[in-house]
Subunit: 655 residues, 2 copies
Amino acid sequence: MDKSKFTNHLPLKDVTISDTFWGPIMERVRTQVIPYQWEALNDRIPGAAPSYSIRNFKLAAELTHPEQDYGVPRDIGFGGPVFQDSDAAKWIEAAAYTLVWHPDPALEKTLDDLIDVICNAQQSDGYLDTYYIVTGLEKRFTNLKDHHELYCFGHFLEGAIAYYEATGKRKLLDAIIRYAGCIDRNIGLEPGKLPGYPGHEVAEMALVKLYNITGDKAHLALAKYFIDQRGQAPLYFEKETERNKNDFYWKDSFVRYQYYQAGKPVRDQHTAEGHAVRAAYLYSGMADVAKATGDDSLLEACNNLFNNIAERQMYITGAIGQSAYGEMFTYDYHLPNGTAYAETCAAIGLAFFAKRMSAIAPRAAYADVLERALYNGIISGMSLDGKAFFYVNPLEVIPESCLKDRNCHHVKIERQKWFGCACCPPNLARITASLGSYIHSSRQGAIFTHLFIGSSAKFSPNGANVLVKLETRYPWEGKVEISFGVKEGTKFTYGLRVPLWCKKFSLSLNGADIPYKIEDGYALMDREWKDGDRLTVNFDMGVQFVRANPHVRENIGKTALTRGPVVYCLEEADNGKELFRLHTGSPGDINVKFEKDLLEGVTVIDVTGKREKDWAGGGLYGTDETVFEDRKLRFIPYYAWANRSAGEMAVWVNK
Amino acid sequence: MDKSKFTNHLPLKDVTISDTFWGPIMERVRTQVIPYQWEALNDRIPGAAPSYSIRNFKLAAELTHPEQDYGVPRDIGFGGPVFQDSDAAKWIEAAAYTLVWHPDPALEKTLDDLIDVICNAQQSDGYLDTYYIVTGLEKRFTNLKDHHELYCFGHFLEGAIAYYEATGKRKLLDAIIRYAGCIDRNIGLEPGKLPGYPGHEVAEMALVKLYNITGDKAHLALAKYFIDQRGQAPLYFEKETERNKNDFYWKDSFVRYQYYQAGKPVRDQHTAEGHAVRAAYLYSGMADVAKATGDDSLLEACNNLFNNIAERQMYITGAIGQSAYGEMFTYDYHLPNGTAYAETCAAIGLAFFAKRMSAIAPRAAYADVLERALYNGIISGMSLDGKAFFYVNPLEVIPESCLKDRNCHHVKIERQKWFGCACCPPNLARITASLGSYIHSSRQGAIFTHLFIGSSAKFSPNGANVLVKLETRYPWEGKVEISFGVKEGTKFTYGLRVPLWCKKFSLSLNGADIPYKIEDGYALMDREWKDGDRLTVNFDMGVQFVRANPHVRENIGKTALTRGPVVYCLEEADNGKELFRLHTGSPGDINVKFEKDLLEGVTVIDVTGKREKDWAGGGLYGTDETVFEDRKLRFIPYYAWANRSAGEMAVWVNK
């Protein structure tokens, strides 16, 4: 492992975003999603299924401290799925991130009050999971496979760390550190412990984050144990299922324990398998542990899995998880458009993984996947007003199929207000609110820019402070201006990602050519930077007619339009019904324009394509030649679909 | 309604099949399927799930006549699904048909013995359904929606009629006539009766068949009542569900009571909906009742439904029922290839319907559907050795999808030995064994030939006997010779179907031109026929590159090869993996040859097409042009697929 390539992403507090594209999305998250989510967690959304998340904490606190009274009837029972604690934890995390870039004393007070309740629910040995506190502690740790205790623990950690980093307040962090101690005493290979690991991963990456704060090797060791023990024979989940007579839902499916990525040791896993969100979270944790421990075999496994996803199982939008059944991966090159599950959370998980791989080594293949997911399959999950959400992000929608074809039953034609299982909106909130920490990473003497997001960031490559400012109209325009603020000339390497989609670019410093070398897809400029140095890069933003590898059955004969990082689609609102009858042909005229009043401002692509004409004589089967008519086609960015009327949508179009 | 066009199909006993294509299939049914099925009905197939069908009859007979002892423990309970009686009934029907063309005293003895058992199970009021006889008669007629009593009754009738017609023995027929009386006393609009109808149709057509034997108007009236009452408000099934607290499985599906074709009156049904087998059986019964009663509005409904299927919801193989969920229709022009349910029984049901419509009026559109189903989607259900069966007949198979894509979970890559719900093999047996009655229909002064199957048939157009003999190598060759045997010159109209797929044909009598007129797709020759007259028709059998209507999303840009009535497919055994990468291009060389040693003798089509080459650089998405290489493609008849090694198959191929 080439540790000289290791970088760390800049902490959120060192980056201020001023981007015309992402700024409004972040504001939407801060002003719409987070307040709405708080209401939802408190079961105050009329007509929506209750979350029970806060109620569970209050009930658990009352049961733990009988002197306390939150006004929750003590016999009311646990509400919602077993993993409801994680919803509050994810909300804490997202809200904490916004406090970094938008201080808000009222929100901070709400958080402090919630944290008081949560901490009051904690048991004397550190245990903290309201499901078992309410339903019976004697059953805790009896179903790691499906009962999400360690998943909730991981999200508690993420929330506690974010809040600590935002405010410096340690109350929740210390509580969860105690919970980590409790888990460590109960789970592990030592005699008397359960040799288990999370059924739904996330704790792995959270523990490495914790270790980076505490420096406590026990925290890293627990993360490493979760990774190393996973899938070892005899299979823990198999034994646990037998011992505790738990259900095993995947018994008769080909996926079996690989649903949990727990059917074999992680280093023997070469193909992304099972539940896509779990998989992406595991792989992120593997990357964190590989980096923290310098584990070559683990890094190799990460690269195998990353390549398998990026080269065989990823939709062009950065979405992953082809199958609604099990919300999971299916197999290589199987990328059905209309029945895709493509969960928002899974694309977010893939972004986590790609970010972490970028930190291990800046390599364009990693950041390209991150960017692809961010500009397409992640933000498609939220409406332009921030009030409605997709779980499922298919690449083709025919409304009648969603109603009448059971295989598309999971596909919604309109974003929904909220969900009983509310994982996607909070996940969207936490990645968006922490986007500042995705832009750059640095190491001694070098900084790398992975994403082109208007922002200013400070870092200290060699002790001295450097301010890096990005100005751009990306993704609508390919010009990015990077200016450097230094007290005095400072030597460091600046690495600028050149996206793999970009076939042509120009680079200049203060209006003149600047020498650079390309390494792993980054343009490296190694020099002494002066205050006010202004680097200008122009990425060619030509419209591309992308094809899928011929192994992909679904896209044979089809093309998808992209421009820069943005994937486009056809919508019924612009192009009428039966989008599948449209062909791009070989369009001579391609008209690209920014429409400021359309869909909050998007660049559209208009081309003259063609449409298969109706058969004059009707009938279902015939031998007449296909007859075409010219047809103007309008492509809009995929992420913005379903923000007008409900209707058809297609990313892949006949050539 | 133009009653002058009514015809009746020739009874089975008047037709002898000597066809080189169908003869071996019928022999396979007689020598393999029927004996195997008898063993299955008696739970004597090692390793297969027991049927319990015969055991249920024996148990019911013992319970009805405590003095009898069939050696079945009286507390053993009912076995198998509620409709298991129908399996025995279907076997009786198929076996009876074979007795017509292949007398077999041992088989007849077996049948007589079985009929004795069945009749011993009958209740004193005529009731005869082993499920309720065994589980409690007080519950009978409480779940017409899902408990298949009237379905089993219908199959009893079909079996009893077939056996009566084969042997002249009335014992079973009389028993089932008594059962019809019992149903008539319990179900109907009169006070004190239940205003219900069958949840799974078949009794409608069986009752019209019975009426044609008995002339008893009550039998026709019951059939007409079942048709007319179906779907009338208030919905019987809705009331029955409420009253008896029955489950309603389709409550949350768009299909609801239309799953049973019972959500609205049949005359208001314009689109084929719900369970495909039930639908086709209902429509067949509607056609029978329309013809028997001269009901114009009912005939109009039949034509609407027939056209909806043939022009919007039928696979090119004659298969119907797009969705595995509910084994049902989905919506117009939705014809997915890889996830098709396309149940063998549904194609058989469509053949029943088409046959009946042909009887009402000879019209090529009807017989074309009949022929399409027979040569493709029906016989694909049986292996070439008669020992294994498909329920599901998809138009595209990728083995890995069957394992890993839940949407293809119902698709088998190899025919199975037998099924727990064993509807398809007996249904295949009964249509194949009675094929003689599908070839011609006649009316006063006229005979119409619908199918080109080597055979001799006798009919009496004007009192005098006429022998019509067909000799042909159809479907491999387009030449059909029809010779007439008459004592003396006899005047009648001979109508010969000209298939809609046929773009060119020649017709001659005794080597000379013969005048004819085309009416509704039949070449009509109205003359005095002499003994030894020999009519020769030559249908052009050119290979056709068929397209689907552009409303069919799945087949845009694709073609299917047909030759005569036979639909072709590509198989992995001949063409390698990833059939979806193959294109026909515009093949200059099309090579058609009969391979006598391949797949029991089939005509294959070889063309030079092309294949998309691998991407040199790998990767999932790119902008390079598609590169093709020439590739020999071999097409085999669809019905014969999966008779070599398991592998991919595709009917629709890229152009």
